[in-house]
């Protein structure tokens, strides 16, 4: 904070630093050449994985609904809906791509905030609209990650956790402003417009497809806010840091010291965690455990299973019980259409059971027929959760996501697997091409998939992102 001193006869000085200004300077001033090579590489791989998520997510019913609905914003345009043939206006594409990135919660996060599903849809749509180069797209993705990480750290002691954190309205207009050619004043105003109506998600809304708007609306609105600012709409110049500004509106506690710490020198993009399996990150190690047990034990006979005990940190327990008191239960409400599979992305028991039963955890396991399958139903009441104190401490100390799954059989046998960090975490990476190909299966032809993957991995050589967009629109006719 700026030092506060009062001299007789003088008004008090304001109690905040110009964080918005620092963010604007960073967003507009960062040169591609100034980004460390490993950070550039991570950003490119983040694009590979996120677009893979979008392609895979486009298989889901909610995705198809949004694709149809965004036509209300107009048809034609400059921006790609990943996996679809049509072009749409940039805000539409940002909304759609953000929604598909998260429809099965198959996205990523930097520090503790879900970055890719807000930053990449915004950046790609703005880049196509502005005719930006691949280097500019990479820089914009890094900018989004860096801002997102810092605002999330500033509000992490408030009520919100994970993807519920309402911080994306800061990074999306900065990303859009960079790619749409706004100047400093316009960019500052873009942040003002974007953050004016603070978007906090309703917790109960996470039981349905509304949840796809958690990053989607900030992505859409970041681009619109940039357009409003570029046209001259005036907004307050200190929206992020003001005591009556955005962060104070959304969070009970704001640690301002985190907002500019290491900006431009400490690269939080390096903390990127990318999910190999689609589910809330707190569930991921338990999913791996269940898949490993399935591989060892074969397809389970529910009649032989006495109980399934899952051990983990508090955050795992939180998602395990979140929707378990609903009446009728979540499954009944999914069956009758009041809720969707999204609720089960944030339920710990379902992905464990689905992994055991189906031997995989993909978008297919979130389809209604899989959710309501007989073997799943038989096992739903046999899952218990317990705290593992070491895993609990490790999560908060070093963002280690642990779980241990024990499948106890009626005959006394027991299968146990444990993971101390999920596959795809920053310290347990995987080749994102695997995810891209998995997501593209059935959406892009194999040859096109490989061509798009190569182009993404050589992104800095692309002069206009629209060339890349064309590769992400399938040549085949989609139903």
């Amino acid at each position: 904070m700026t030092a506060h001193s009062v001299q007789p006869g003088c008004a008090s000085r304001v109690l905040f630093e110009d964080v918005t200004g620092a963010y604007v300077n960073f967003a507009l001033g960062l040169r591609f050449e100034d980004i460390p090579p490993d950070v550039v590489q991570i950003a490119k791989e983040q694009l590979v994985a996120t677009i893979g998520s979008c392609l895979g997510g486009s298989n889901m019913p909610g995705a198809r609904t949004i694709r149809e609905a965004v036509s209300i914003f107009g048809e034609g345009g400059t921006a790609t809906l990943f996996g679809a043939r049509e072009l749409r206006p940039a805000p539409s594409a940002a909304l759609y791509n953000s929604a598909t990135a998260q429809v099965i919660d198959w996205d990523d996060f930097v520090i503790i905030s879900h970055s890719g599903a807000a930053v990449i849809p915004t950046a790609f749509a703005a880049a196509e609209t502005g005719g930006a180069s691949g280097r500019e797209l990479i820089a914009a993705v890094v900018i989004g990650n860096e801002i997102n990480a810092r605002t999330s750290r500033a509000i992490q002691k408030g009520a919100y956790v994970g993807n519920s954190m309402p911080n994306h309205q800061v990074e999306t207009p900065l990303v859009a402003a960079r790619l749409l050619g706004l100047d400093e004043l316009q960019t500052r105003r873009a942040v003002a417009h974007s953050t004016f109506l603070a978007m906090e998600s309703c917790p109960i809304g996470w039981t349905g497809d509304s949840k796809l708007l958690a990053n989607g609306l900030p992505a859409l609105w970041g681009i619109v806010s940039a357009a409003l600012a570029k046209a001259g709409l005036v907004g307050y110049p200190h929206p992020v840091e003001h005591p009556a500004g955005y962060l104070s509106t959304v969070s009970e506690v704001v640690d301002s010291s985190e907002l500019m710490r290491g900006l431009g020198s400490e690269w939080h993009t390096r903390t990127l965690n990318t999910k190999f399996h689609p589910s809330c990150a707190y569930n991921l190690p338990a999913i791996e455990c269940a898949l490993a047990i399935r591989e060892r034990a074969g397809a389970p006979d529910p009649a032989r299973i006495k109980r399934i005990v899952v051990h983990g940190p508090s955050v795992l327990l939180y998602v395990a019980s979140r929707f378990q008191a609903l009446e009728p239960d979540v499954y009944a409400q999914i069956a009758d259409g009041r809720m969707t599979h999204v609720a089960l992305c944030f339920d710990a028991a379902y992905p464990v059971i689905a992994s055991l039963v189906y031997g995989e955890m993909s978008w297919r396991q979130y389809l209604k027929e899989a959710v309501l399958g007989a073997s799943v139903s038989a096992l739903r009441d046999r899952v218990e959760f317990k705290t593992d104190i070491d895993m609990h401490k490790a999560y908060y100390a070093s963002y280690s996501y642990g779980a241990r799954v024990e499948v106890e059989l009626e005959d006394g046998g027991c299968f146990v697997e444990e993971r101390r960090q999920f596959l795809g975490a920053r310290d347990r990476p995987f080749d994102h091409a695997v995810k891209f190909r998995a997501g593209a299966e059935g959406i892009l032809a194999p040859a096109q998939t490989e061509e798009a993957l190569c182009a993404l991995r050589a992104l800095e050589k692309i002069e206009n992102v629209r060339e890349l967009g064309a590769l992400l629109r399938p040549a085949l006719v989609q139903p």
Partner: protein, 123 residues
């Protein structure tokens, strides 16, 4: 089976003390040193005060101005204090209020309460 909210919370307080602060992290400190009234509509109520290494359960006095009030039916308290559900489960089921000025306390208490109940007590 007879249920006493006060007795259940007193048992929780003993369990909490045995963990000797192991479960508290900086991101979950928001519910510490806060007065939380826990009650059953038309029934029992008690005042929970959670500190890092101890918890105390007291009577609710007319002068008490709590930081949060958690009101739910006995069956929901049974589920929460067994660890099968947490406070937010009941809120999301629409059976407990979630005022905005109390949400941080309720959210963080929800996590700590369940985590403590489902943990094996420290040796």
């Amino acid at each position: 089976m007879r249920f006493s909210l006060r007795e259940e919370f007193e048992q929780f307080a003993e369990r909490w003390g045995r963990h000797r602060g192991a479960l508290v992290t900086k991101r979950l400190e928001g519910c510490l040193h806060r007065y939380v009234v826990c009650s059953i509509p038309g029934g029992e109520s008690c005042l929970l005060f959670l500190e890092r290494e101890r918890a105390s359960v007291r009577d609710v006095s007319p002068e008490t101005i709590p930081h949060a009030s958690i009101v739910m039916a006995e069956q929901d308290w049974r589920a929460v204090l067994s660890g099968r559900l947490h406070l937010m489960s009941i809120v999301l089921a629409g059976r407990a209020p979630f005022p905005k000025d109390q949400r941080r306390v309720i959210m963080q208490l929800s996590m700590l309460l369940q985590t403590a109940v489902l943990a094996e007590a420290a040796a």
